[in-house]
Chain length 183, copies 2
């Protein structure tokens, strides 16, 4: 599967495309950053993010888009820009019918380093190793985007099996399933 | 001037178009709500908001779009949806080259009721009176969208004069202006 990872941001929006399946070596297809000027009007910055994401979708035709899930407990100004940039990324993907998955920062860190509290350097080092790169991708937003794509490829089989199990269970025993949930 | 006001939200996004100038009676051109199903995937909901806003822009051709400024001190889940819906509204406007203005909830309340702490009912009552409607627009999101448009029409002349004064001052006395700011 080919996945575009997006580390959303208005000033720097990290993008990275990874191809592969769980249990096999992964391949980096592309990595970069969509930047918008901090002094531009918000509407224009969102248009620039949209154009950047559209270019990446056009060029690399990913089958899935994985976006970092945004939480609002952080800095107020930053989180708004992040939420807005992530909305644009999700919009671009959904408009083309590409499935969008959200992963939390700790899910991503745990997937690539084994620890949900790993720091930027550790994530960068593991992304470099897993994709067999010569050096860690810079800036950190670009490395994070690749980590998101890797996380999605590795989590997808488990998520698919879970969804299939739920679907099967719901189809065969709807009454027991709904009872079980309220009990 | 013709203004589209947008009270952003994923479940209910209020939209209202008002035409007029400050100091003259205003006219409501249209009011409504763009809804998206709460159980749909986030990406699909954002696409639905985009399609709804695009329809309003196509049909009413506003010269300005006024969007409620989102703060993150409120409920975490709600504010994320609001930020994402507002990003889509700003994107749609900016893509067409329509200027986007953000107004805070208290600016809007103060503009239409005289108090920044007015409640929903008071805002609804004043919108009804100012636009000479038979009854308050329902739901409250629709009334809020009209209040945003009214607020923009009334604040625009003052904002324009301020911008012109700043531009003039900067053009004629750049050194004094920058000294003045740091003093």
């Amino acid at each position: 599967m080919r996945v575009l990872g997006v580390d959303p941001g208005l000033t720097r929006c990290g993008v990275g495309v990874v191809e592969g399946v769980a249990g096999r070596p992964l391949t980096m297809i592309g990595v970069g950053v969509v930047r918008t000027p901090a002094d531009a009007e918000l509407g224009h910055r969102l248009v620039a993010v949209e154009q950047g994401i559209e270019q990446w979708l056009d060029e690399h035709r990913p089958e899935f888009v994985a976006v970092e899930r945004v939480f609002s407990q952080h800095n107020v100004r930053t989180v708004m820009g992040t939420a807005q940039a992530s909305a644009v990324a999700m919009l671009c993907a959904a408009r083309r019918g590409i499935p969008v998955a959200l992963h939390t920062p700790s899910e991503v860190k745990a997937a690539v380093t084994g620890s949900g509290r790993a720091d930027k350097a550790q994530v960068g080092a593991m992304v470099t190793r897993l994709l067999r790169l010569g050096a860690p991708p810079k800036p950190a937003d670009a490395a994070d985007a690749l980590a998101l794509a890797i996380c999605h490829i590795w989590r997808a089989p488990a998520q698919n099996r879970l969804q299939q199990a739920v679907a099967l269970h719901t189809a065969t025993a709807p009454t027991r399933a709904s009872k079980g949930r309220t009990a």
